[in-house]
Each structure stands twice: as C-alpha cells, then as structure tokens.
C-alpha cells in the first residue's frame, strides 16, 4: 500500500500513471519468463549433463527413446497434462466456487475421442489427429455447457454428486464397450510421427509445454478480466452477484465450458503420452487428484495448481524411487516403513502436514504471509 497517500490526494482516475510497458511486463512476469526459459532448455540441459541425447538413442536404423533426457521429458509431459487439468479445475472450483466431482469426464473424453478418431478413421494420420483434437474441443464444450446448465437447478453438493454420477457412468461404459476396447483400453498407435512420443518425444514435450503455457495465460486473462471479478463474486455469494444485476448462470457457464475444454486438451496430451486411452482417465481418481492438488497448491490462486502439481509429482517420483527403509523395533512389534512400497502412505502424511501448516495452500499461504509482512513493515515505517 505504498500509494495510500496518493489515493488520498487524487481522484482514482489520476492514480494510475503507467510506467513504460516493458518494465511493467518484466516486473510482473520475470518469474514466468524464467520458468518458461528453464523448461525450454531443460531437455537439452539434461542431455548435455548426462551425455544422453534429448532426441533418443540410435539403435541400428532406428531411434529409440532411451536415456536420461527422454526419461525426464516423459515425466514433464505428464506433469504438463496434470497441471492443465488442475488449473482448469481451479478455474471452476477455486475461482468460481463450482464444485464438480466429475471433472475427469472431460479429461477422459480428450484421450478417448482422439484415440477413436485416429485408430478407426482410415485417412492420413495428420488429418485424423487434427480432426480428433477439434472433435474433443467440440464435445467438451457442448457437454460442459449441458452440465453447466444443470448447475442452474442443482447447487453445491448436489451438483457435485450429479457430475460424479455422469463421470462414473462414462467410466463404466468405457470399460465395457467394444469401441473403446473395454478394460484393456484403446491402444493409440496410428499417431502421426511428429506427435508420437516413441518417435519424436521432444516435439511432444514442446507441444505439452505450449499447451501448459497457453492454458495458464488463458485462465490468467480470464480471471483478471471483469468476468473474473464476477467469478469471484459468485464464489463469495451468488445471490449478491445477482442482486447487482449479473446473470450469474452465464458466467458460471463460461467458467465451466473453458475448464471443460482445457481438461479435454490435457486428456489428449495424456492419451498421446501413454499411447492409449484407458478407463482410468475417466475415473474419480483424477478428479480427486485435481481437487487435492488445488487445495494443496492454493484454492483460487493462479500459481497454486502449478506449484502443487510439480511439488507432488516430483515428490511422488522421489519417494517411489528412493531406497529409504525406516525400521522401528519396539520389542514386541517391529514397524518397518519402506518408502518405495509405502509411498502412498508417505504422500498421505505429506498431504496432512501441508494442509495443517499451510491452511490456504502453499501459494495461498505464501501470499497471505507476504501481505502480512508488508502490512507490518508499513506500520513500522509509519510509526517510527
């Protein structure tokens, strides 16, 4: 609040004196730019450090995806997909206050729709793939709109249960249909070369990065716009937003449709990476993951979902990979904790601790702490 004094003396229209554009941009985005730059360089940097080419290893006449760099590329592609899923969930749940338990429906539709088009439509793979992506955008936006319309009648937990029912239904059907290859899942092996993770993983990595950055910018633009303020007003009190004169349904639909399409695109990326679409993509696990990561990262913050996804994903990777075994001998009982086997227990404990120590999520608590320190500093300066 360094401009309280200015506000006091001037009318609000005069308060805003814009400094040069590039300085505003740099001051606001230096961290974003740094992260994107690191992510662009990352596969090459890992390749350079470990000596494994980021393009994979040559075996005779073929290139296979082996080595450290391609291994980490796969991990980051999965992280990009999850981050987009969580960010989209946060747009709906964190910013607009709509709780859905069926968000994985859109994630799964992304994987399945592209898979079905690519596998069954006997045309040029490039054409099939692009048609699949467009189909996903179409289906997810229509379905998001329909489910969003139901939020007019169903509020809060009833809406959440309804979405859960729809997603579980899709999960059951996907597991039993011939078209989706039942529980085995649909193998996706007719991808064009440029997006096949077994042939050009680095390209998939950069496409994933582009999707991640685009999703972040779209959500950021949306929540910083006037519509974003209405989203937050709806989250705080929908009746109040209506009483001001807002057709809140329209804003909720906007939020739900954008979230649905982004989740669908994230699902495409996951389907490509796994080269298959399995019923798990539609399962409640992905929705719960998105919900938990949103809470752990910081509900209604832009960076929360990203920090939460990266933190948990890397933590899980480390715990599952570690060879730590803790043993506690109490005479009668012997208690052993094997990190790589009991990883889910470890993650659970971390969840509990994070929620207790960071009640507003990692990013949310950090923002509050920073604001409080700032306030304290201002008051100290004002009194001395």
């Amino acid at each position: 609040m360094d401009n309280v004094q200015d506000v006091f003396q001037e009318t609000p229209q005069d308060v805003f004196r814009p400094p040069p554009m590039w300085r505003v941009f740099l001051r606001e985005h230096w961290l974003h730019l740094l992260i994107v730059a690191v992510l662009i360089v990352l596969p090459h940097a890992i390749g350079w450090i470990t000596g494994d080419s980021p393009f994979g290893r040559v075996r005779g006449s073929r290139v296979i995806m082996a080595g450290e760099s391609t291994y980490w590329q796969a991990i980051f592609i999965e992280m990009f997909s999850l981050a987009v899923l969580v960010m989209s969930y946060n747009l709906m749940f964190g910013f607009t206050g709509v709780i859905s338990f069926g968000h994985a429906l859109f994630f799964g539709i992304g994987g399945y729709a592209v898979g079905i088009v690519v596998q069954y439509w006997d045309v040029d793979p490039n054409l099939a793939f692009i048609a699949g992506v467009l189909l996903v955008i179409f289906i997810t936006s229509i379905l998001g709109l329909l489910i969003g319309l139901l939020s007019l009648r169903l509020r809060g937990i009833y809406f959440a249960i309804f979405t859960l029912a729809i997603a579980e239904m899709a999960w059951l059907y996907a597991g039993s249909w011939r078209l989706t290859r039942g529980e085995d899942g649909l193998t996706i092996n007719r991808l064009p070369e440029w997006i096949d993770p077994e042939r050009s993983r680095l390209m998939v990595y950069y496409i994933g990065l582009a999707l991640f950055v685009t999703a972040f910018l779209v959500i950021r633009r949306l929540v910083r716009s006037p519509a974003g303020a209405v989203f937050q007003a709806i989250r705080e009190n929908e009746d109040r937003a209506k009483a001001i004169g807002y057709n809140t349904l329209r804003y909720k639909l906007l939020s739900i449709v954008v979230a649905s399409v982004l989740a669908g695109l994230a699902g495409i990326l996951m389907g490509i990476l796994n080269k298959s679409a399995r019923p798990e993509l539609l399962g409640v696990t992905y929705t719960v993951d998105a919900l938990l990561i949103t809470i752990i990262g910081g509900v209604g913050t832009l960076a929360g979902p990203v920090v939460g996804t990266a933190g948990l994903h890397l933590l899980e990777l480390w715990v599952r990979d570690s060879s730590i075994i803790l043993s506690l001998n109490l005479g009668l009982f012997e208690f052993t904790l094997n990190f790589s086997q009991d990883w889910i227990l470890i993650i659970g404990v971390v969840f509990v601790v994070v929620v207790l120590v960071f009640p507003y999520g990692l990013v949310g608590t950090w923002y509050r702490l920073r604001a409080r320190v700032g306030d304290w500093w201002e008051r100290r300066r004002a009194t001395t």
């Binding site: 309280v4 001001i244 004169g245």
Partner: protein
C-alpha cells in the same frame, strides 16, 4: 399525487413450507424514504427479497415504475434500476474497494460518472480505494455496500438494516449519507432502530406476522403511541 414508484399488492411468499408473507400491500412513493418497521421475524427482509425476485412470490403483484416484476429473474429486476443493499454489510470481502464498485457498473461510464458523488457521500472510501473489502471496519463496509448500489443509475434503493451493529457515531454518518442520496433517489429502508427510522423516513409501513398492518406519514407515527406500542414493542425511545 404522482403514481407510486413501487406498488406491492397482496403478495404471498413462502420459504420452504413456511408462509412468510401474507397479503402484504403497500406503496413506495416516487422520491423520499419509506421505512418498513416491525419486530424481528415480521417479514421485512423477505419483503425486500421478494421485490428483487430472490424469494418467489406465489400470489399478488409487484409493480415497479408501472411494470409488473413478479416472476422476473433477479438480475433482470436489478437491471431495471433497483439497487439492493443486503443486511450484514454484504460486500465482496476478497475484492478491493475499487473492484467492489467496478463490478457493480452496468455500463463502462457508470463508475467514472458517479464516483465523485460517492466520494462526496463517503469520503473514507477514497482513502481505502485499493484495500480489500475484508480489511475494512464494519462502518466502512456498510458505506461500501451502499456505495455499490449507487454506481449504476438506480432509481430505487432497497436498504436492509443499515445501522445494525454499528457504533452510534458511525450510524450518524450513515444516516447523513442516506438522507443525502434520498434527494435524488427513492429509498425503501428496513430499520429496527426506531430512532434512526424516525430521523430518516418520510413514510412508514408497519409489518407484523408477515402482514402489512399500518402505513402513513412518519411524522404522525411518532405521535401515535398506541400503534408504536402495539406493533413495535414498548419503550421505543
């Protein structure tokens, strides 16, 4: 006498199975302040919410500016020029003062056009412009809630219990502000504090057990001890 701005005719309203309003009938004349008086649970807040379509009216009619608004959607009614200041200082606590005001604008130029008027009424808000609503004091939040209803060019303001839970000195400020804004707008006020109501209002409507039981000019009510005793309890200053 000109036609009333708001005509409420024999409305009935339910909340779940409870019959809250029964045959409520009153007029709000164009201009000035009309106050809804009555004990707790008499149906005053429900009446305001019914006007805005937030509680559904099962029978009867509400006319605003000659047009029936029963059954219309809340946001449509609000857009016709009715501002609502709910009880408990209903601001958006996570938005700043500026965002709270900006979100209320219906046209781009609403806020720039009315901001000087708002700052004249509530000079405090100018100082607090960039602060989050949740960090404001109770009185400041009440002022922000009223200010929010002044951003668009509303003709009628529904204000619910503006003095509730505020310190006497703040109440004086709120009274002065409502008096000032009533020079250009019509106000329908719900107020428990009889002293506040009698300072502010031109007309009164008394509600009791979900019915409108008396109405008239405020100045005459202050003299009429019998009605005051019967419907508003005893010992009202």
């Amino acid at each position: 006498m000109s036609a009333p701005l708001l005509r409420v005719r024999e409305i009935d309203a339910f909340i779940e199975q409870f019959h809250i309003l029964e045959d409520v009938t009153f007029d709000v004349p164009d201009g000035g302040i009309t106050v809804l008086l009555g004990r707790n649970g008499a149906g005053k807040t429900t009446t305001l919410r019914s006007v805005l379509g937030m509680t559904s009216v099962t029978s009867g009619d509400i006319e605003y500016n000659g047009q029936s608004i029963v059954g219309k959607k809340t946001h449509t009614i609000a857009q016709m020029g009715i501002g609502y200041v709910p009880e408990h200082r209903a601001i958006f606590s996570e938005l700043t003062v500026q965002e709270n005001l900006r979100i209320a604008a219906r046209h781009k130029d609403d806020l720039p056009r009315n901001i000087e008027m708002i700052f004249t009424l509530f000079p405090d808000l100018k100082r607090l412009y960039q602060l989050q609503g949740g960090n404001l004091s109770g009185g400041q939040q009440q002022m922000l809630a009223i200010a929010r209803a002044l951003v668009p060019d509303n003709r009628l303001l529904l204000i619910d219990e503006p003095s509730e839970g505020l310190a006497p000195v703040i109440i004086e400020q709120v009274i002065a502000a409502i008096k000032a804004l009533a020079e250009t707008k019509t106000v329908l006020l719900v107020e428990q504090n009889f002293r506040v109501a009698s300072q502010l209002a031109d007309n009164y409507v008394i509600m009791d057990h979900g019915q409108s039981v008396a109405h008239g000019v405020m100045a005459s009510l202050s003299q009429d001890d019998e009605i005051v005793q019967r419907y508003l309890g005893v010992g009202m200053h």
